[in-house]
């Protein structure tokens, strides 16, 4: 996803000189080509994310479309007040890009786990929050984000769902229905969609037809397909590589309650409001913290057995 993002941004930067990429001294090997091709559109701000975000706001207020780039929480939580006051309050066209959503950097420890970012970023007024599930989807969404002014957050994942390319099915702000079914709906965000796909295949062998909705845009949240899923399947399981507090599950619950469409069956799958204290690869940590395909299957069976 990271390479897909940089490749797409390079194509855009080649024709739009207002696009700027600022890194907080990360992206070894990944940003080299961009920096060489567009020296006037690239800045390494050093290990100084507060200043990087302030700079981005200043540049954006002078007409640039600015992308800040670092890993995990460094473009978001480290400089959260700069995002809130300098970027969001000023409607500045700044996209904070975080490489390493969830457990992407699973061996690096909790400092490098982005597991509260979705909840925190979506609480900022005016912020668009995006988490793609595939590299090709990242390219499509990057291009659409450039065309959308204002503050944005792009959460990139090391994993990927590996679904076939479907150029026509990805629209910023819209939910993607990636699997049809009428017994239960699995609602996912980001690359953990791959676990939901595995779970749906297993559930099908048990006679349970799961619908899958991929929410690549958490904010603004596309109401209609979620409300329809709640009404048509009567059971929803939300799945996120993120704390269960305030993220996808929280956003969907708020929406469905507001719409008077809360389903009879409801489960949230995600990190159970804790800090992981062990490390491992992304697959290992998903299993260890109860958000792999087996955990999703169990949650689906539980909502249907209500």
């Amino acid at each position: 996803m990271r390479d897909a993002f940089v490749a797409e941004l390079s194509e855009i930067a080649a024709v739009d000189p207002s696009v700027m990429l600022i890194t907080g001294d990360l992206g070894f090997g990944v940003l080299t080509d961009f920096a060489d091709r567009f020296p006037d559109q690239f800045i390494n701000a050093g290990v100084a994310e507060q200043n990087m975000t302030g700079l981005a706001a200043g540049l954006a207020l002078e007409g640039h479309k600015v992308f800040t780039y670092s890993i995990a929480n460094f473009t978001t939580l480290r400089c959260l007040e700069q995002l809130r006051n300098d970027v969001c309050y000023h409607d500045a066209d700044v996209t904070a890009v975080a490489v390493g959503g969830g457990f992407s950097y699973g061996q690096l420890g909790m400092s490098h786990f982005a597991t509260e970012d979705l909840a925190i970023l979506r609480a900022l007024p005016g912020m668009t929050v995006v988490a793609p599930s595939d590299a090709w989807e990242t390219r499509l969404l990057t291009r659409q984000m450039v065309a959308r002014p204002g503050p944005k957050y792009l959460r990139l994942d090391k994993g990927r769902a590996n679904l076939p390319v479907d150029d026509d099915d990805v629209t910023l702000g819209k939910v993607r229905k990636v699997r049809d079914g009428n017994d239960v709906t699995l609602v996912t965000i980001g690359a953990i969609l791959s676990e939901a796909l595995k779970a749906a295949a297993k559930l099908e062998s048990e006679g349970i037809n799961a619908r899958i909705l991929s929410v690549h845009t958490l904010k603004p949240l596309d109401a209609a397909p979620l409300v329809a899923a709640a009404q048509e399947t009567g059971a929803i399981v939300t799945i996120e590589e993120h704390n269960v507090v305030g993220g996808l599950g929280g956003a969907v619950a708020e929406l469905l309650l507001s719409e008077g469409a809360m389903p009879a069956g409801w489960r949230t799958v995600g990190l159970a409001d804790c800090y992981p204290t062990i490390v491992g690869d992304q697959d290992y940590l998903r299993a260890a913290y109860g958000m792999d395909s087996a955990a999703i299957e169990a949650a689906a069976r539980a909502v249907l057995a209500r």
Binding site: A45, A48, N51, G54, L55, G58, L59, L61, E62, D86
Partner: protein, 286 residues
Amino acid sequence: MTQPSVFRANAIDTTAMALAIRRHAVDMTHLGKSSHVGSVLSLADILAVLYGDIMRLNPAEPRWIDRDRFILSKGHAGAGVYAALAERGFLPREQLKTHYQNGSKLSGHVSHKGVPGVEFSTGSLGHGLGVGAGMALAAKRAGRANRVFVVLSDGECDEGSNWEAIMFAAHHKLDNLIVAVDYNKIQSLDSVANTLALEPFADKWRAFGWHVAEVDGHDHTALSTALAVESGERGRPSVVICHTTKGKGVSFMENAVLWHYRTPQGEEYAAACTELGRATGEGENA
């Protein structure tokens, strides 16, 4: 490029403008029962010289592309910026009375929303300089000659984010970025020296690669000389350390920690008005 000198307001009497800002500040903090009058009085001369002499602005076109940008990073002295903007005709003087009142756009910490001439909103310390560096970089890349002026407080220099921006601006040779530090030696609860000592302050800036000038922050000639820096002139950013007196112009507010937060009411308000040369209740248009 637009010829900017027509908008330079060097016909303005900055001494009179500073006095007007001080009168507005006392009235606004009196009417709003609000804090930070000492911070505004400290800053009044710096604001008068910038808004009345140094900066190229166009009140008829606040977003004029070649304007000099101004960011008050010490946003708690926002009443001073509103007063300066009113004196320059960006907003009606009458509107200053709404400061701090229910439904007002003139918030205690300076905000740009619905207020022509305010470039950037602040209030949390340590934000303005990084943004100013971004604006200065954008001007350089666009080939514009405008400058970016940022005013910091001394206490604000406790914030590490400033030093990130200070390093960045020097590294990128942003000589169109000019900082004025309102160095009144007093912060929220105590003196700067007793809180987190800044000295040797000028040496710190020099070590970070900045051009440094130190002036009496109430001497308009000295301020005007030090702040008159053009883009492309020095090859590095400039800081003017302005030695000021907190509460300047009202004797009992001067050098008093108390007047960071205290609001002028009753006899104190009357005494402040008298010291600023007019009768109590004369209004901010005196």
